[in-house]
């Protein structure tokens, strides 16, 4: 064999070895990916695309090694619902003794850093921030583990979201944050409590405040199932029950308990609906989303049964969310359309009308 033939032979062999190595590398990546917990942040993680964000198969896969949070390589448009969910997810994994490995950190993840996401993940990532005070209309992610933590968050909303000059919108945001946080603290059994964040959008239409609260607790079906066995039929049934008034998993009773009436989630949904904003709820394998209104009439009619609302979507997730995620929008420009937004909301809620006179003075 001449040297030329020997060289060709060697090159062919080395190419084959390289090919094998590459193949092995691909296979090992695939193997690792399929057995590790992995959350992929798509280029748009919003209420509009909540299904795509939550319908991931490897969120809670228990396997050796780190847990991976992977941002889209080029773009990441994230709304509070995604940020709160990721923070809850990361905190849950950290409480299981895992570390979070973040991939594709770059300019497009600065917003997540500004919302303090990485602090909650235990990841040291502090890109240089240029603070824009006027544009900084957001409530960064907060972890609330006890009832005492709710008040300070409520107190900060006005200043952080710049809602001082819009008292009805401020009250609506405070209302929703309070009810959602207390729901988690009282009913979820989440060892890490609740994660909340919000953002006020004032530059593009629609003007709105987007709010999200997430936990990795027992989920709605398990909680309600103790009192309402029908909730155990499916996560979708449980979600439907949780969004009706008068359904609480706290204790059996005709109209709730001394401390819970089971109307918080219903009224919160009505607040979003009344302003024509999104409302999304996901727990276990089920997801519900009330879409934005297209016309004013969409906002007027409130539905006791959320599944009667023609502008709703039901989702089934293959793997599901271990806990509960709530995201909603309050369209601040719409609140101005009401002569007393809250009075209107409360008067739409079905309740007995015949009773003695209430003494107001």
């Amino acid at each position: 064999m001449c040297w030329m033939q020997r060289r060709n032979c060697w090159m062919a062999a080395s190419s084959y070895v390289m090919y094998l190595k590459r193949l092995q590398s691909c296979l090992s990546i695939h193997d690792v990916k399929s057995i590790m917990a992995h959350l992929v942040v798509p280029n748009s993680a919003t209420l509009h695309l909540i299904r795509r964000f939550l319908d991931q198969r490897e969120l809670f896969v228990d396997a050796p090694g780190p847990v991976v949070l992977e941002f889209h390589p080029q773009w990441a448009h994230m709304e509070p619902v995604a940020l709160a969910a990721i923070a809850a997810w990361g905190a849950w994994w950290r409480s299981q003794g895992k570390t979070i490995e973040v991939r594709n950190l770059s300019n497009h993840t600065r917003y997540a850093a500004r919302m303090h996401l990485f602090e909650h993940l235990g990841v040291n990532y502090n890109p240089e921030q240029v603070e824009h005070e006027e544009a900084g209309r957001f409530l960064p992610i907060r972890q609330i583990s006890a009832r005492e933590g709710v008040g300070p968050v409520i107190g900060d909303i006005s200043a952080l979201l710049h809602l001082d000059d819009d008292p009805e919108s401020l009250a609506a945001v405070q209302y929703c944050v309070s009810e959602l946080l207390r729901n988690v603290l009282e009913h979820s059994g989440s060892p890490n409590g609740a994660f909340v964040c919000a953002h006020r959008y004032t530059t593009g239409a629609p003007h709105r405040v987007s709010i999200a609260v997430a936990d990795c607790g027992q989920g709605i079906a398990t909680h309600l199932g103790g009192v309402h066995p029908e909730a155990l039929a499916s996560d979708s049934v449980a979600l439907g029950l949780a969004m009706r008034p008068g359904v609480t998993g706290a204790r059996p009773g005709p109209y709730g308990t001394a401390d819970n009436a089971g109307a918080g989630l219903f009224i919160t949904r009505c607040i979003a609906k009344g302003t024509g904003g999104y409302f999304a709820l996901a727990s276990g394998h089920a997801g519900f989303r009330q879409r934005r209104s297209k016309k004013a009439n969409d906002e007027i009619r409130l539905f006791v049964d959320p599944y009667d609302d023609p502008r709703h979507d039901k989702f089934e997730f293959a793997e599901g969310w271990h806990g509960t995620v709530v995201g909603l929008e309050i369209r601040t420009e719409k609140i101005a359309d009401y002569d007393g937004f809250f009075q209107w909301i409360f008067k739409q809620i079905p309740s007995r009308r015949k009773r003695g006179k209430i003494k107001f003075s």
């Binding site: 207390r182 359309d337 079905p350």
Partner: protein, 114 residues
């Protein structure tokens, strides 16, 4: 005899602390109603409240004493939002939630014209 209770709120006038409401209910409202006293709830410093807060305050007294509780309770200095909220809690505490919202039956709305 009458018991006056000043309801406290946050700096922005928002009352949502259910624990505080529960304490008022257990230590002041229920004992007063038990002895047949009247109770005045003064909302002078409250502009908005959550339904959970008002429920924690008066839900149990209403369910326990029904109409008698309503006769002995007075709601002072309520904002329009609080009035409608108190009405809501009184209504469902005495009679539960109905199946359909009022708007679905009457289609009456109080939205401003656009």
């Amino acid at each position: 005899m009458s018991t006056n209770i000043l309801i406290l709120a946050s700096a922005s006038g928002f009352a949502e602390d259910k624990e505080a409401a529960k304490q008022l209910r257990l230590t002041k409202i229920l004992p007063a109603l038990e002895t047949g006293d009247s109770v005045t709830l003064d909302f002078a410093s409250v502009k908005y409240a959550t339904q959970s807060f008002i429920h924690a305050l008066i839900g149990e007294p209403l369910r326990r004493y029904q109409q008698r509780a309503l006769d002995h309770l007075e709601f002072k200095n309520c904002s329009p939002q609080l009035k409608s909220l108190v009405e809501l809690v009184v209504d469902y505490s005495l009679g539960g939630f109905a199946e359909e919202p009022v708007s679905n039956k009457s289609r009456k709305v109080s939205k401003k014209s656009r």
